[in-house]
Symmetry: C2
Subunit: 213 residues, 2 copies
């Protein structure tokens, strides 16, 4: 995937077609402020208690500007879920560099996700609430991530590092591991393990499983 698209195109695409694309840099910043304020508001209050007026107040944006970009609170929520998916993607990608092995990529991607979640704990509440508020976005979020993981697993097998036959099932299993250790060690916390500790432990499990050799 190319990262060379202009920033405003990326923001609009991340907003999943639910935001009208801003045509100026100023518009792009306004949309970004609205999405960030929405993450705070939905994360703190949940969808039903959140209000558009409170979100525009947090964002320091006029109510009229809100409706330039979104038709409704629902449209903003959908755009936010797509934006969160995009942020998960870019946070994982930013931890990767050329020459990494397939197993190392999984470790680095998980550590980056855990660090992202530590900075944005509201992501769990927002994605989980999407199951009820917007099931299509919820499903799309996980299907997109699972497809990306499945691609990495088959690439790892092609490179000779992973065994053959890994696919969708293993991708869903791996995603479930990552999501649940994030819930336990980042969102709930209190276990005194760093993102790197957690990622290393999960990575060993992924590499070699549980059997004694």
């Amino acid at each position: 995937m190319s990262n060379t698209r202009p920033a405003e195109v990326r923001v609009a695409q991340a907003a999943g077609g639910d935001a009208k694309a801003p045509r100026t840099e100023r518009g792009r910043r306004t949309l970004r402020k609205l999405l960030d304020a929405a993450a705070e508001e939905f994360g703190e209050k949940g969808f039903h208690e959140a209000s558009v007026s409170s979100i525009t107040r947090r964002a320091g944006v006029a109510l009229g500007s809100f409706y330039t970009y979104f038709d409704s609170k629902d449209a903003l929520f959908r755009a936010l879920v797509a934006d969160m998916s995009e942020k998960v993607r870019t946070s994982a990608r930013s931890a990767l560099h050329d020459g990494m092995g397939a197993l190392e990529i999984e470790r680095a991607a998980l550590a980056a996700f855990l660090r992202f979640a530590a900075e944005h704990k509201e992501i769990y509440r927002i994605i989980d609430e999407a199951e009820f508020v917007d099931p299509t976005s919820y499903r799309q979020h996980y299907e997109t991530i699972a497809a990306r993981i499945a691609d990495r697993l088959t690439a790892g097998a092609r490179a000779g590092e992973f065994r053959d036959g890994l696919g969708e099932l293993e991708a869903w299993a791996l995603m479930g591991m990552n999501v649940f250790v994030g819930l336990r060690y980042v969102v709930w916390g209190g276990a005194d393990m760093t993102a790197d500790d957690v990622a290393a432990g999960v990575n060993r499990l992924l590499a070699e499983g549980v059997l004694r050799r």
Copy 2:
């Protein structure tokens, strides 16, 4: 854990202290009907749209009887989450028998969970909604399951089948795998994989990981 407690004690314990314990067999049946009707109602409508009167109607139980056992819709919801946790436990246990190896136990427990979830797809919605309606129950549900898995992992290591050093982290990872493959292959479905296929694939991943040997 002993399974020799009388049925009424088990129902009341499963209800997590939020149901008043029935003293008669008839009372026990009424409580069971209320919990089953609650699973349907909360599963179909979600917590906020669900109503006590609709639940008693589904259960064929008088409204007065409801208040013999529960103080409120909230108390019933909490009792239902505890009851679901207990059912997950007993469904997994029922698939196990003496002489199974540690890895085989994980496979059989997952296959049993997937079959249970196929019969009770509402469990995902109910547990997931607990994150918002009753966070304490939500957390307790997963902490209890993770503790049970961690015990099985250490027992497997003690028996020489699993490697040493497995614990809470690996238990959360394993639980995450199981929950997510259940979401994908049971709740969403459409992939034409049986519970046994899914459990076998996850079990191989758990056993040996992804590295090529």
